[in-house]
């Protein structure tokens, strides 16, 4: 266990090395936050009352929380495992006397923790200053929110790890990358709260793992859902996706052919 904590700690510390990149990223998150919040405010002016239980204020906060969680959950473009498969470096990684899946998971948890501090919190603070976001005052609610973010990170990692493994069968992962971006953008709640969906699309969204990423933590913070029902769903998906990843790993190791020397 100690080795995994150490891995997470190192990966946590690593994230602080890129100060300029962090500032640049904060700027980009903020511009998107301002833009999307303005769009929703403009839309809410054309009607009165909340939409599917979301008031204008809550939706604007939703937009900023999503911008804050983007780098924490790191839903787009994580192909580190795929690259080790491509280069063949995975062979030496597999020889190490630690669990391959837990190794990457520990590193990702460390990464996410650091991103929560350097990207998530500042982005939310900027939104709070610019749009006077209203937050719950109960500290318990915040703890529940953080716990659901932690589980969201695990679901996000399990999903990313799984699609990285596809590289065992296809060397070019770009097509897969696009498909996963579509699924995540639409069904995680990144673009809009999933409860805005028409019934048939909401049914599909509820059957997929992606709502664990953005929608469930948001619902927990807004008090739209009991935290335990969110945790339950998230834990189910962590276990299911991790088990699937183990299964795929086993099959892949059997057919592992390494290029070059």
């Amino acid at each position: 266990m100690r080795v995994y904590i150490e891995l997470a700690r190192r990966s946590f510390a690593q994230q602080f090395a890129y100060r300029e990149a962090t500032l640049a990223g904060l700027f980009t998150n903020s511009v998107f936050g301002i833009m999307l919040a303005s769009v929703f405010l403009g839309l809410y002016q054309s009607r009165s009352g909340p939409v599917a239980g979301w008031s204008a204020d809550e939706t604007v906060r939703y937009v900023w929380i999503n911008q804050s969680l983007l780098m924490v959950l790191f839903v787009w473009g994580w192909w580190e495992v795929a690259q080790t498969i491509r280069t063949g470096a995975i062979v030496t990684d597999l020889l190490k006397p630690i669990d391959y899946y837990a190794y990457w998971m520990a590193r990702d948890v460390g990464r996410a923790g650091a991103q929560l501090i350097i990207r998530g919190m500042p982005t939310l603070a900027i939104g709070w200053v610019l749009f006077h976001l209203q937050f719950p005052t109960s500290p318990v609610r915040w703890v529940e929110f953080l716990v659901s973010i932690f589980f969201a990170v695990l679901v996000s990692f399990a999903f990313r790890f799984l699609i990285n493994l596809a590289t065992f069968w296809t060397i070019d992962y770009r097509g897969l990358s696009y498909a996963s971006i579509v699924l995540v953008n639409l069904f995680s709640g990144l673009l809009l709260p999933l409860t805005f969906f028409p019934a048939w699309l909401l049914t599909i969204a509820n059957l997929l793992p992606f709502r664990s990423l953005m929608m469930l933590p948001n619902e927990v913070l807004a008090g739209h859902r009991s935290p335990w029902s969110a945790y339950g769903l998230q834990i189910f998906w962590v276990v299911a996706l991790s088990a699937l990843a183990q299964l795929v790993m086993k099959r892949a190791e059997k057919k592992l052919v390494v290029q070059g020397g």
Binding site: Y18, R19, E20, A21, L23, A24, G25, F27, T28, V31, F32, I34, M35, S38, V39, L41, G42, L43, Y44, Q45, S46, R47, V51, A52, T170, D172, R174, G175, L176, S177, Y178, A179, I181, V182, N185, L186, L191, L192, F196, F197, P198, L201
Partner: protein, 273 residues
């Protein structure tokens, strides 16, 4: 005139390089088809989100769903086309780091053309195509009263948008002469700019409008032409001919970018590896 002929011959060479890149990509047919389809669908998810939003809201700053879809199609077309032409610029930082830019400097062809055609990505073809389909749908659904001037304006808008986004990609690339880390900030103007162009500019806050009009003239290439083509009322109070200023705004921006590019290239010091 000699300059012009030189430019034409350079563009012909660029075209030939681009064609060979495309042929290379066709070799991996399955991946290639997936990429085009993937890009086609990525934006479709965004469009679906937009349509869902308008199930709950009646209009956005006085623009109805079809009018917003028109803006969306316009933005997706110009951005997709610019990405297709300029996707090689994405690899510019890597070229720089590996010292490959030295080789570019020794060739008798514009450094900019060489950098942009190193990788013509057909995958963005899907995105541009999707933009065109959506634009076509919006034009059909909106029953626009076309005049020759409006048709011209539509072409000017797309052309200016491509020039503007290509310039932004070039700025992102040239910034790595000085910094590699902070280029992500440019995403706020490229991806952010193309997102912003999907909505009527009038709904945004004053300083965001100023940023996207006077520093990065995205409002000039998309919003004002759309106002004229769709006969919309512009609450910002700009004169009716503002849409026709699109090529001027994009041209000035491209000139400034060209200067920055030249400046960057002149100050280039090889990594020496």
């Amino acid at each position: 005139m000699a300059n012009f002929r030189e430019l034409l011959s350079e563009l012909a060479i660029a075209g030939r390089i681009a064609r060979s890149r495309l042929q290379g990509q066709m070799q991996y047919r399955a991946s290639f088809v997936l990429q085009i389809a993937g890009n086609f669908i990525i934006n479709f998810a965004e469009l679906l989100a937009l349509i869902i939003m308008f199930q709950h809201f009646h209009h956005l700053g006085g623009w109805n769903i079809r009018e917003v879809i028109f803006l969306y199609g316009l933005s997706a077309t110009m951005f997709g086309l610019a990405q297709m032409i300029g996707s090689g610029l994405d690899q510019f930082p890597a070229q720089m780091r590996l010292g490959e830019f030295d080789r570019v400097l020794t060739r008798p062809l514009s450094t900019f053309i060489q950098a942009s055609v190193t990788d013509i990505s057909l995958r963005y073809f899907g995105q541009m195509l999707q933009g065109l389909v959506i634009l076509g749908y919006a034009v059909f659904a909106l029953d626009v009263h076309w005049t020759a001037a409006k048709l011209l304006l539509l072409f000017l808008s797309i052309f200016s948008g491509v020039v503007l986004f290509l310039s932004l990609f070039a700025i992102e690339a040239v910034l790595c002469f000085w910094t590699v880390e902070s280029t992500e900030a440019i995403n706020a103007f490229t991806y952010g700019g193309s997102d912003l162009a999907q909505y009527p500019l009038s709904i945004f806050d004053r300083w965001l409008r100023r940023l996207f009009l006077w520093l990065i003239p995205i409002g000039f290439v998309s919003y004002f032409p759309a106002v004229t083509i769709l006969d919309k009322h512009d609450p910002l109070g700009f004169p009716a001919w503002t849409g026709f200023a699109a090529p001027l705004a994009a041209g000035l921006f491209a000139l400034a970018t060209g200067w920055l590019w030249g400046f960057g290239v002149r100050h280039y010091r090889s990594t020496g590896s």
